[in-house]
Amino acid sequence: MISLQDIAFITPQGEQLLKDLSLHVTTGECVVITGPSGSGKTTLGRILNGLIPHYYEGKLVGKINIAGHDPKTTPLWQLSQHIASVFQDPKSQFFTSITEDELVFEMENYGIESKQINSRLEHILNTTGLQVLRHQPLDYLSSGQKQQVAIAATQLIQPELFIMDEPSANLDLHATAELEKVLLQLKAQSKTMVIIEHRLHYLMNIADRILYMKNGRIEQSFTPEELKILPNEVLTSLGLRSPILEHGHLHITEYDDKPLFAIDKITIQYKKHAKPILNHFTLTLPKGQVTALIGHNGAGKTTLARNLTGLIKERSGTIKLNAEALPANKRMTKVWFVMQDTVYQLFTDSVWHEILLTHPEETEKAERILQQLQLLHLKDRHPATLSGGEKQRLVLAVGLMQNATLFILDEPTSGLDGFNLTRVANLITTLAKNNCHVLVITHDPELVASCCHRIVRLHEGQIAEQHVLEAITYTDIIKMMQ
């Protein structure tokens, strides 16, 4: 199905992303490609679905045959009839506004008769269980449902090969389990799959081989069984996420217990809603601690974060900082929110201008903070040219500059490899030690285990469970997050 021989790819800027890469995949096989960020996984995926050389330019050498075609000489639309592509973020792959329109989009482009379109549509709706979502606007679906629609949409053209680039990056554990079922279905139909992924645990029943990439090469190959028995130290040194969901160890650091923020009986209700999102919600956030905030979509996590930041006002209740009431309009400087996508939070043309934006006088403090977050050497760079992790640190630095005492991080590890996960966990620990409290909204159990002190599960605007990490096991965390 796939045959790549001695592939090299060089970008127009002269950067070599792949070298001496060979890959052979037989029909019906499922190959998982993993490895640290920047190892060339995404580039390889783009070669496999034809986006390189057709969409992204650069110098591509080597012999390629995919589903019987040479991508260099076959137009992309022709290749796409055999290859299904699924991407990380469903938001950027949908082209219509309603589920069923999205499902048939590709068939319409290929001019397939409407009779056949309708019969295939019915078939896919019934076999995937998407019938209930048929007329739903795509904007209303959860991330998991979106990804299901995205995968179903590629199936209608009946491709032989599936190329997926981090399909689980935006999903919680529950949605990831659903994704696993969909992939198992495809495997039962003997479809060939290449899945690029950091999270490995859900692929252990699906993958035939796991390839480890580093520096633009495929360096190692494992079977799922081999990967599962790799000692922890080896996984860490390779920068891999744990291949077994239930295996993990808690890393508990010491902490203070002096209250910093006190959320006292907060009620938040939107005008058009019948029920409040948060109802008499009470939680204390002590100094020097890290709290993990978990729960399904719509449980109220984001609403709580937005309320703490002061973007939404509470109907009743108070929020206190060091026992003093802090109204919504005063909270913005004390509470700092780091979004999953930091692009929204950076406004200027250099790291230095960014950090001084609202505090142009305090250059000494700015330098100290940049030093602490290992950003000082990047002082003159444009924020857009920084890596994801560097941007995240820069946004944190801006918060420190404002003397914020509560930091809220939204999914800080989505789409990160093992190395970067550890880096983020260390950063959070450092932050908490600065006499701050860090509230982490996450669905990543490895992150919870590596840096949090408490775990709070929200359900329908209430605290459903709350534990100190010392008192529970890693398996308990998984259970809470499922």
Partner: protein
Amino acid sequence: MFDARIQFMLLLLCGSLAVFVTNTGAMALAILAIAFVLLQGYFRLAAQWFIFYFIFSALLLLLYTVDGNGILNAALLMLAITSKMLPTLIFASSLAKVPTGRLLSSLQKINVPKSILLTLAVALRFFPVLRSESKLIQENAHIRGISLRQLKNWRKPLLLFEYAIVPLLMRTIRLADDLSAAASTRGIDAPYKKTSHHHIAFRTYDSVACLFFFLLIGTLWI
């Protein structure tokens, strides 16, 4: 909901008529347009337009009676032009309720060229994105104290503009890039004649919409 093709035709007709009709004619157009929205079952939308149009016209009439100076006359001119455009906007607001897939396949059926269709498809896909992205950015700007909503920032309009536009561009360029990459793996530029799963056909109720053709043209004589 009426056939999107008829809605589209009516929109074009209303747009061109607006140039020729008198002020009273424009008012008749607006009433027809609101009736058109109402007939499709969008009661809320129709009511909103009705109230808006009523207040707007009252304001306009009031201004006519005032013996005004230069600035007032300029404002009056602007309002008068707007009053001519309103009926078209009302028609457009009901067309905007048609799901994009159905709208595009309807337009395709009346042989709108593919290049225009594709541009329209992308534009329709992108407007809501622009709006939601821009809202997110403004929210973050607000937290940083550099948003458009805070009056003190208007002392440095150029900087303010930069803070509003640069992140939006950064973000949308990337989204647009991802989106067109995804679209090209799904045959967006395949050289076939596109088909559609929407059954686009003329129904009996649509003849009511056809009546509007004559009613609209009738406004020329008012």
